[in-house]
């Protein structure tokens, strides 16, 4: 029998799994609905991840079926259309959905879903505005691509998931308009047209019209109602023995939380990814602008994992069209990287580990990943993770590291 090229490649992709299976021949389990595979699944989808003609994009699922990459592709540094972004996000979600349930199966129709976006800076604000915010200039890659947020919401709506969708952020860099002297804030800026001219305010207005049966709103976590709560389980912040933080109530009360953030380097922690995104849930009204009072409670690595514990990400999406490298996570030290990649999955530490690896970092040099693993937020070891669609080697694109950042010295409970 002659094999087609695709069959041959699919078989090649199967081979490592078959070999792994042979190693475990003595104890094997027939695939079943009640028996989940152990490997956390992370989807990595480049804009160039096609249907698998080159043998590198797409994935076999747990039942041995081929799930192809994108039907149409774009170069990894192309400007992407709205339609492309919608398909791209769905593909990343699909690739992350097996063996774990697809994202929509994690969410009930009457759930309150919070989308934690990253709006660390605001387009249109100059450093001279004295409104209390520590303004940094906007550069592409420092904030979440708004089209990703819209695509995730459209995906949820198509599957009739979520009765209330709240987009949240608590930036260290800008204040909401009603508290500042500025004519713009992170919710109202159109980013100079960078994201199809979208602003969050306009997005919510449009979505409310399109899906009138669902409540859409925005919550600025710096000033939204907050409460002081103990961290569940074991607090990490070494300077916070009581293990209590003040967090926005919406984070405690929502049913599901989806984190969406760009790939960024960070001069303090190496990378700023899902866990760093949780610094936004601590209100600036309590911890200051920037939120330097958080550092009185422990190292940044400890604090961001503690904050994540209040409502671990049910799903995490990283990337977009731009990230930043160098002395991030914001300007002026950071510089944009135009690289179309999405990394997605339900295990945040695994998602961050894959993203950090393709950015050129070694996971063992990122202390927060070991802390997160110990708290059960996923394995950061690549050998334990099932990366699907594009392999890490193919998606590998080293980001310039922060100039003064180096792997921290032990002991920090490394991997």
């Amino acid at each position: 029998m002659r094999l087609s090229r695709r069959q041959l490649l699919a078989g090649g992709a199967l081979l490592p799994r078959v070999l792994r299976g042979q190693q475990n021949r003595r104890e094997e389990v027939t695939a079943s609905a009640t028996i989940r595979a152990r490997a956390p699944c992370v989807g990595v989808v480049l804009s160039s991840s096609g249907e698998g003609y080159d043998g590198s994009a797409g994935a076999l699922d747990t039942r041995g079926r081929w799930r192809p990459g994108l039907a149409s592709t774009q170069p990894n540094d192309a400007d992407l259309s709205t339609e492309f972004v919608e398909a791209w996000v769905r593909k990343a979600i699909e690739m992350a959905g097996d063996p774990y349930p697809d994202l929509f199966r994690l969410i009930a129709p009457d759930d309150w879903v919070v989308i934690k976006t990253d709006i660390s800076c605001c387009y249109g604000l100059g450093p001279s505005v004295e409104d209390g915010g520590a303004h940094q200039p906007f550069i592409p890659g420092t904030v979440t691509d708004l089209r990703l947020v819209r695509a995730v919401i459209n995906y949820l709506m198509e599957h009739k998931r979520g009765a209330r969708i709240t987009i949240v952020e608590g930036s260290q860099q800008w204040l909401p308009m009603d508290r500042s002297k500025s004519a713009v804030d992170g919710w109202t800026t159109d980013w100079g047209g960078a994201f199809d001219g979208l602003s969050y305010k306009k997005m919510v207005e449009d979505l409310s019209k399109k899906y009138p049966e669902v409540d859409f709103d925005i919550a600025d976590l710096n000033f939204a109602e907050s409460l002081e709560l103990p961290v569940l389980g074991r607090p990490l912040g070494r300077l916070n023995p009581a293990g209590r933080y003040t967090i926005a109530k919406v984070i405690a009360e929502c049913d599901k939380l989806i984190s969406i953030a760009p790939l960024k380097t960070d001069a303090r922690t190496g990378v700023a990814l899902t866990f760093s995104n949780y610094l936004g849930i601590a209100p600036g009204a309590k911890y200051g602008f920037p939120k330097s009072d958080l550092l009185k409670l422990g190292s940044l690595d400890e604090v961001m994992v503690d904050l994540h514990s209040y409502h671990p990400a049910d799903f995490s999406i990283l990337g977009g069209s731009f990230g930043v490298e160098g002395d991030g996570p914001a300007g002026p030290g950071a510089t944009p990287v135009h690289y179309n990649v999405l990394v997605a999955g339900p295990r945040p530490a695994s998602v961050d580990a894959v993203a950090a690896t393709l950015m050129g970092f070694k996971v063992e040099q990122l202390p927060y990943l070991a802390l997160a693993e110990n708290l059960g937020y996923g394995s950061p070891r690549l050998r334990d993770i099932w990366v699907r669609c594009s392999p890490v080697e193919q998606a590998f694109r080293p980001f310039r590291k922060p100039s003064n950042w180096g792997p921290p010295a032990p002991p920090w409970g490394g991997l």
């Binding site: 003595r26 389990v29 009640t34 405690a252």
Partner: protein, 534 residues
């Protein structure tokens, strides 16, 4: 009368004190034997971290059975000659299944030690090990949810545990039974897979049976008739042998929770998924599984219990792959009273027994004592061995059930109707038999002293809460009703506190309310020193 000398008096006093501390004074109190591997009366005490071997485990189990002796005087005295004894361990998963990890199921050495005790010391005629796990039996023609080992299909009977999982008692269950048959030819030994042992009517159709009314208490589940198994119903003597660990839904796994394995999967499983989904779907109340746990136990309450506390799981009841999930404590418990035994399990795991809904239900049925002051723990010291196991994120204590409610919130509270919710949630329209645009509910909380904690609510509608006449909280929710969605810090004054909830209907969904007071750690445990009343 013979006079005793000073030395004799001192010796006899010390002996009496020792006897009192070991066996308890009040014979009426239920006894729970608690033995750690460090226990001084064991033949060879070892550390709590010791991996143990079969001889050590048997010594612990037998000592715990001795300490937890039933009212009949001993376990063997309670088992009538010629009777059919069923030993029910928890073997929900086999090792190759990905949700399994050490501490998930009953230690095979504990099961074997109970088997050996009954075989050697009692006059039982038949001894059966019975379980229904989440894997199909060898005789099941379907091939989903099957486990294989070395290319051979296996189930609980022929799965070979090897030498390492339970040191000193590896191998297969069928080999163990063969060994006992050879050693005790006067007794019959067998295994029953409860997944397939459903009671059928004369036509062969599975039969649902009404929950027995014990102590005047009927079914707690959403429906009152259950599929049950012949073995559990018909055996003469049932020994529940669970592993102790936490559980996402009901808090702890112990003697009662072990009954989920008695629900026959052949009728409760859904296609392609061999677990008791039907029990959850048909019988849970307000998402809690406690009602069907308590109901299944009513069909044949345990005659004795031996709990494996050697290893257990924190965070959740099956593997979550966290490196610190499994805890080794090297404990064994035993007792006649399942409520008391589980209450001790709860305390060992850092739970308040009163928070466990199925224990309240078991006590209401007259199956045992939940008051820790009325339980004699014999052997090792409970307070020394109790430790705060990390609780599941979703855990919350039993919510308040007793309310006074009205559809006219402006009316005098003394005119409001008394209502007891069957579950955690108060459905206003159901409670009053009519709908209204706004409702109100009130309850009192007695606090032993000034108490700080959290008020957790589940809400559908818009609520205004007053505490002792002062506005406390206003909140609105139109999304999923979830206990603990709303968490508000609360401070109660000593004595009586009144909580009043005015709930308005918002949109189409009927008004609902759940309320529970949670302790300062906010981990889902109830606030110590408080009691709800009406």
């Amino acid at each position: 009368m013979r006079r005793i000398c000073r030395r004799e008096f001192i010796i006899s006093s010390v002996q009496a004190a020792a006897a009192v501390s070991l066996f308890g004074v009040a014979q009426g109190k239920p006894r729970v034997g608690l033995v750690q591997s460090t226990h001084k009366r064991l033949t060879k005490p070892v550390s709590p971290e010791h991996p143990l071997d079969y001889e050590l485990v048997r010594d612990m189990v037998w000592r715990a059975i001795e300490y937890g002796q039933p009212r009949a005087g001993s376990l063997e005295a309670k088992i009538k000659p010629g009777s059919w004894v069923v030993i029910k361990p928890n073997i929900v998963f086999l090792k190759p299944q990905s949700s399994y990890r050490s501490g998930d199921i009953t230690d095979q050495r504990v099961t074997r030690a109970v088997l050996e005790y009954v075989a050697k010391k009692s006059k039982a005629g038949r001894i059966t090990i019975a379980e229904g796990g989440s894997y199909r039996s060898l005789s099941d023609p379907l091939n989903d949810n099957v486990v294989s080992q070395g290319g051979v299909r296996v189930d609980a009977t022929n799965y070979d545990w090897g030498a390492d999982e339970f040191p000193g008692a590896g191998g297969t269950l069928e080999a163990t039974l063969r060994e006992f048959r050879a050693a005790h030819p006067d007794k019959k030994f067998d295994y029953v897979d409860l997944s397939y042992d459903v009671v059928r009517d004369p036509s062969g159709k599975p039969l649902r049976i009404e929950v027995p009314r014990l102590n005047g208490v009927a079914a707690f589940g959403a429906r009152s008739e259950y599929y049950v198994t012949n073995t559990i119903r018909n055996c003469d003597f049932l020994i529940s042998v669970p592993v102790m660990k936490v559980h996402e839904n009901c808090g702890i796994t112990g003697c009662f929770k072990n009954y989920v394995g008695t629900g026959p999967r052949c009728v409760y499983a859904t296609p392609g998924a061999f677990w008791n989904a039907g029990l959850h779907n048909e019988y849970a109340v307000d998402t809690r599984i406690d009602p069907f746990i308590a109901d299944l136990a009513a069909f044949h309450p345990p005659d004795f219990n031996v709990v494996d506390g050697i290893r257990g799981l924190q965070y959740t009841e099956h593997s979550n792959e966290r490196p610190d999930q499994m805890l080794r404590n090297n404990l064994v418990l035993a007792g006649e009273d399942p409520v008391s035994t589980d209450a001790v399990v709860a305390r060992l795991l850092g739970f308040n027994p009163l928070d466990i809904d199925y224990l309240q239900m078991g006590a209401a049925r007259g199956l045992g004592t939940l008051d820790m002051n009325q339980i004699d723990v014999v052997g090792d010291e409970l307070d020394r061995l109790a430790r705060p196991w990390i609780k599941p994120r979703a855990w919350y204590a039993r919510c308040n059930r007793d309310w006074v409610v009205t559809g006219e919130p402006q009316s005098d509270v003394t005119t409001w109707k008394r209502h007891t919710s069957p579950g955690d949630t108060l459905y206003f329209a159901k409670a009053l038999g009519s709908s209204a645009p706004a409702f109100a509910a009130a309850a009192k909380v007695r606090a032993d002293g000034s108490r700080k904690g959290f008020l957790w609510l589940g809400l559908t509608g818009k609520v205004t809460v007053t505490l002792n006449g002062a506005n406390f909280l206003e909140q609105r929710n139109t999304t999923r009703h979830r206990v603990g969605q709303i968490q508000a810090p609360i401070e109660l004054r000593p004595g009586e506190n009144q909580l009043l909830f005015r709930v308005e209907t918002v949109g189409e969904r009927p008004a609902q309310l759940s309320a529970v007071l949670i302790g300062p750690s906010n981990s889902g445990d109830s606030l110590d020193g408080t009691r709800w009343t009406t």
